[in-house]
């Protein structure tokens, strides 16, 4: 019988990433959320906030962050890498 543990592990990881990539899909009260990255930081303590976000994620400023379209594209990337990983394992 073929070893199915590795394909199953990769599939599990893929499904976990897929599920968690949709975390930012929650509707927001801020209609400009998809374009929030365009807004310059304003107000007291904003510099601190920017530093905090930058230290957590150096790519937070990139376009499409937190948008539905961004999530769709992200899932497309995950699918492509999932197929590549399966190819490595099954090949």
């Amino acid at each position: 019988m073929a070893d199915t543990s590795r394909p199953l592990a990769v599939t599990g990881l893929f499904l976990w990433l897929w599920r968690h990539s949709g975390k930012q899909d929650q509707p927001s009260a801020d209609p400009l959320l998809p374009f929030a990255w365009l807004r310059p930081p304003t107000g007291i303590g904003s510099a601190e906030t920017v530093d905090h976000r930058e230290s957590e994620n150096p790519f937070w400023h990139l376009p499409l962050h937190g948008t539905r379209f961004g999530t769709f594209l992200m899932r497309l990337c995950l699918l492509a890498f999932y197929l590549l990983a399966l190819l490595f394992i099954l090949g």
Partner: protein
């Protein structure tokens, strides 16, 4: 005096099999892209970066796919190891597409002198190596060039349009972003991203001839026996 191993190489046949028209097509696409982006200097270096990896990846899938190579039995029976043929065709392809990309890089620099040559080359070299590696490895594993081309195209499109979204959600996946922009991150991280893509791509390219060297696998004997 020509060394005997040089005469054992079949460059002319490899060039004939790789063909010149896909290279001419990518050269034409780059020329059109540069003409359209001439007024926006920030887009100019992206033209070569976007076109060359796709052209190289799509073409690399078909250099020697076992099921699309009618004289594979003859190649396997000849005294010359069959991975040589794969290496020759890959080198010819890399030479052709690389020449076009280098010329396009110089043209880009002449139009937008603010960029460095090393940066313009790093933009297309790393994703080309990675997509080429993916395409050729997928073609060897599935025995069909079309699967390699499809996977390379899927990776190219998804990373071109969704790579930034992927990084903004999972920043630790930075080694995988094919089209990371130099201005989007620290120079050291950008250099590490290019190095990781190049290493992964060359690793896959090196693995593909090893798969082809397995004669039973190349002729699909084991799977044919399983089917019986």
């Amino acid at each position: 005096m020509i060394p005997p191993w040089v005469s054992a190489l079949a460059w002319r046949t490899s060039f004939k099999l790789v063909g010149w028209w896909p290279t001419a097509l990518s050269g034409l696409a780059i020329a059109l892209g540069l003409a359209f982006a001439a007024d926006s200097p920030e887009l100019l270096p992206r033209v070569v970066e976007v076109i060359v990896p796709l052209a190289f990846g799509a073409q690399a899938a078909f250099v020697l796919a076992p099921d699309s190579e009618p004289p594979l039995e003859l190649l396997l029976a000849s005294p010359r190891p069959v991975p040589w043929a794969l290496w020759e065709r890959l080198l010819v392809l890399a030479g052709l597409q690389g020449s076009v990309a280098l010329v396009a890089s110089v043209v880009t620099l002449s139009m937008a002198p603010d960029y460095g040559l090393a940066q313009v080359i790093a933009r297309w070299l790393a994703p080309s190596a990675f997509l080429g590696g993916v395409a050729i490895l997928a073609a060897q594993v599935t025995r069909q060039g079309v699967f390699g081309a499809l996977l390379a195209t899927l990776l190219w499109a998804s990373m071109l349009f969704g790579g930034d979204a992927l990084l903004s959600r999972w920043p630790s996946l930075w080694p995988l972003h094919l089209f990371l922009q130099p201005g989007a991150t620290a120079p050291a991280l950008y250099a590490a991203n290019r190095a990781s893509l190049l290493a992964a791509g060359l690793g896959m390219v090196a693995l593909a001839p090893r798969l082809l060297a397995d004669e039973e696998r190349a002729l699909d004997i084991s799977r044919a026996a399983e089917r019986r």
